[in-house]
């Protein structure tokens, strides 16, 4: 019995190895995961898409793992040249054709991204010549710590930078960190409503730092480090969620010092805050 079972083991191992070898060339052409990549996506598949498009000369931009306009036009040009339907979607056929036409050195590209190097991946040029390592001063630390995100670019809601969002998240966190999520989105929405209103400054920083406008700014709580939830609330508000019902003011009835605020007509209450016109 024992003899047979060990024979079986060998057979199993052998067949495993054969399958692995057999599959290997397959995985090279099926390198992408099964997803249909569309504009706005982020992640490893996008890195691969960009690298492959760059490898055959369609994509000139940075390989950053965020499917933006540059990638979109590159993919459409590729689809046109290869007789595919031109839709900017990387589906099964497109991915197959692209994988057949190009090379992709996954390990090398991810290494460059992790190190934070500036690099390109054009075909026909030795890859060593396409890397510009980061300055000496910071290169060491970059290899030491793994980047927090696989991609080096982020999608952002129209017209706002990461720093704007951070600043608003600071204000939202300082003002409403104990509030329900909806209340945080509402506070962010009030900031945006003020930016659009004729009666307030026209920039985010102008509204936030208007003297006396927010207590969190006056007492320094705005400089607490906001959590991801506050940031998400800000992004929601920028993307068009306004739980406040177009409010331009809000206050906490338990702590409000100004009598004047009670004269505003109220719209609704979320958590501890009352939102007013």
């Amino acid at each position: 019995m024992k003899g047979i079972s060990s024979k079986w083991k060998w057979l199993l191992l052998f067949s495993c190895i054969t399958i692995c070898f057999g599959i290997y060339p397959e995985t090279r052409t099926n390198a992408f995961s099964s997803q249909i990549i569309q504009k706005g996506a982020v992640g490893d598949d996008v890195i691969e898409l960009q690298a492959r498009l760059q490898n055959i000369g369609y994509y000139k931009g940075k390989i950053d793992g965020a499917y933006g306009w540059g990638t979109y036009w590159a993919l459409r040009n590729f689809q046109q040249d290869f007789g595919l339907p031109i839709d900017g979607l990387a589906g099964t056929t497109t991915k197959q054709k692209l994988a057949n036409a190009s090379n992709f050195n996954k390990a090398w590209i991810h290494e460059q991204i992790n190190k934070g190097n500036e690099f390109t991946y054009f075909g026909g040029v030795p890859i060593e010549k396409q890397v510009k390592a980061k300055g000496n001063g910071t290169g060491g630390t970059a290899t030491g710590k793994a980047p927090s995100k696989p991609t080096t670019s982020a999608n952002l809601p129209g017209g706002y930078s990461q720093n704007d969002i951070q600043l608003m998240a600071n204000a939202v966190y300082g003002e409403a960190r104990g509030e329900p999520y909806t209340g945080q989105v509402a506070v962010a929405a009030v900031i945006l409503n003020r930016v659009e209103s004729a009666a307030f400054p026209n920039t985010i920083s102008g509204v936030i730092f208007e003297p006396g406008a927010f207590t969190a700014v006056a007492d320094g709580q705005i400089w607490l480090t906001p959590n991801e939830r506050a940031k998400e609330a800000v992004v929601d508000a920028i993307n068009g969620w306004d739980p406040s019902g177009n409010a331009e003011y809000y206050f906490n009835p338990d702590t409000a010092t100004s009598k004047w605020i009670w004269s505003r007509e109220q719209i609704k209450r979320i958590g501890k805050h009352i939102f007013c016109k």
Partner: protein, 451 residues
Amino acid sequence: MIRNIVIALLVVVVAGTAFWGYQEHKEKNAVLINAENTYQRAFHDLSYQVDLLHDKVGSTLAMNSRYSLSPALTDVWRITSEAQSDVGQLPLTLLPFNKTEEFLSKIADFSYKTAVRDLEKEPLDDKEYATLQSLYTQAGDIQGELRKVQYLVLKNNLRWMDVEMALASGKENSDNTIIDGLKTVEKKVSGYGETNEMNPTFTSAQQRDENFKNLQGETITKEEAIATAKNYAHSKSKNLKVNVEENGKGSDYGFYSVSILDKDSDTELNMDLTKKGGYPIWYINNRDVNKTNIDLNQAHTKAEAFLKEHDFSSLELFESAQYDNIALLNFVTSENGVKIYPDSVKVKIALDDGSVIGFSADEYLKSHKTREVGNPNISEKEAKDKINSNVKIMEEGKALITNDIGEEVLCYEFLGTIKDDTYRIFINADTGQEEKVEKLKNSEPVYENLI
């Protein structure tokens, strides 16, 4: 001996404390003066800008030719923006400066719109001339009041910080010259407010408040609101805590706020519905999403199914974006191949299980109506010829957009590139005018990784 040492030690401690205290006091004063100076600068700057504004508006009254009028109005526009920025730096706790800001923004709107217009073809009409004249008088009034306050501030050496501190400590009996003076300014301005003979299209802020006036349907009851919200929540749990509230009287439109707390999963759905017709304005069903199991394209399919289920028809995906483990999809109405940009609906999908965790139809409900999308006057070829020849056109279509002055216009939409940048260009399909040119944003590098 020990006594002497103790005494010596105490002396050192007392001297040290005194020195430290003095240092702190000095620092505090330095900070206070710094803040005070910022306020003073903003205030004196403001009265200077209003002075300048008055003069400039005055000189435009005497101008006739386009060559001098356009630059002068542009200058007025610039000065109002400076003045607005000064107002924004004054302490808001002292008094609401809203009316003054609104007045400034009205002048800004008026001057901008007239400055960019081709005054050769379309000179100022009588009404606009009258508007300009009334703006001139009003600017003069404000200038006078501000000058008065400024004189008192300088003469009595008044400090904004004193006023602010007195207010903070609840004592309002200190010298109120600043507050009273500025209140007079504010009152003067609010007096003009409604009686202004300004064309309603000049006030851009008022336009947004369309308040769902196009909605059809009967007013719903609280129970109906709850039923609709439950329909969206899809919760199978029996252990629900439902709460519904009406809007306060400050709202421009009637709505119900429904919250449904699912005690089993400890998730809460919040939703606002219009009273008229019971349309969902937005809903948020937020939770932490820590994994990505489905891709953006699948999220797109899920969102489409969701919209179909809730009777939002003829919508087409306009933009999609992935933020970590969340997908945001923006849909717009599409009518006979014309994209209606003001009608936008946003759906937020969790990429772990594909559930809808957010939805906003705010803009859609405000602008959606049965429209007569007319036929274009000019051909696509003609429109294309209007585009800067450096732009390489990649995609074309038709779209309805809201232009600068808030009118809905039918346009040809072109997507094109110059080098690495992508542009969206709208050419008016009736007049051939370039309505809007946007440079589309690429994703931004994550700075954390750049340092």
